[in-house]
Symmetry: C2
């Protein structure tokens, strides 16, 4: 049994980020599924783990962590994983790229937010319309921000980092909700590079049996 | 004229965070207003500054930065501002606290998101109902997370840091939209401490004349 445990949900983008980061850092971990559709994230047991009632939760090094972005920074700081460049200005630019999806798109497309929208404005396509309305321009902005980085295998160089860790789960959602990547060649190239990387491949969402 | 320029909007929470951080670090800066109500953030001029069409944008040390959280980390890294503790696990916990509002509440209550909701579900109170629906439970979770930190003047100790920088602008919005803080004594105590701190006081939203 591993000492690192990730409480996650297979389709949660935030959980997906942390699986990628753990894999990139070469860390063994076990996952404990928290079924959002069963509302297991709002159970007393899970609220005890995280008062926010969200996944993922990460037990690592004898600590319990919440918030995927905080976990990724922790893994980077403690395992020297190289998710961020050394130069502060470069770090800020990579963080800004990551946050363009992780902060400005992902939370707005959270399951709880979209469920609330569907309550306010019922309709057959309200969920997918909402997703497309925010994911498509979010990725368009990401593509423009990427243009500020020299072309490379990954978002910000020849090794994967924070921006790739945040982008790939967002692209999973883009495909799920029918957002085309046709206009985003740089994003498609990064997606292709990540698809060939074992750390990303092993982190892919897989429905538990 | 200062070498540091912040393109901001007086009522933007993300801009407010950066004003606090610059003040805490003792940095002189000038602000350049970008009027969101005039859609100046979607003008070619501003999209040139930030393809996301968002405020704030920060010119500092000859670099142009976007994303408030990336700016705050940059200021911390380059000015040794002490916004985060030194220990990685403690850093992760403070970041998680900050992100509980900056990632999980703030983007969902963004002007553009709420405008889209109001289009989908017209109604006199749709904006304020939306704000309350997300701000109140977000602060309730923040209060529970705070309980994991020893009581202190600020969120995570006797000096203000990342969590306070993110909390105070969120509280400005809570007051604006009529969310009561009655059930959140720890949050109220931090708010009172920050109200007496000159860096927070000087950063308060003030409508340009």
């Amino acid at each position: 049994m591993s000492d690192i445990r990730l409480f996650d949900y297979w389709r949660s983008s935030a959980s997906y980020r942390v699986r990628i980061a753990l894999n990139l850092a070469g860390l063994d971990y076990e996952t404990v599924p928290v079924d959002l559709l069963d509302r297991a994230h709002k159970s007393p047991e899970h609220l005890e783990r995280n008062p926010q009632g969200l996944v993922p939760v990460l037990d690592i090094d004898g600590q319990r962590l919440t918030q995927s972005l905080a976990m990724v920074e922790y893994i980077d700081e403690t395992r020297k994983a190289g998710f961020l460049p050394a130069d502060p200005a470069e770090r800020a630019r990579v963080r800004a790229l990551a946050y363009a999806v992780a902060v400005d798109v992902h939370p707005v497309c959270n399951l709880g937010v979209v469920a609330h929208v569907a309550n306010l404005a019922p309709g057959d396509t309200v969920r997918e319309d909402w997703m497309r309305h925010f994911i498509a321009p979010g990725l368009a902005a990401f593509e423009k921000l990427l243009a500020g980085f020299p072309p490379a295998r990954f978002c910000a160089g020849d090794a994967p980092g924070l921006a790739d860790i945040c982008l790939i789960p967002q692209l999973y959602n883009a495909h799920r909700w029918g957002v085309s990547l046709d206009d985003f060649p740089r994003i498609r190239a990064v997606e292709a590079a990540c698809a060939q990387h074992p750390a990303f491949d092993a982190a892919k969402p897989t429905k538990p049996e």
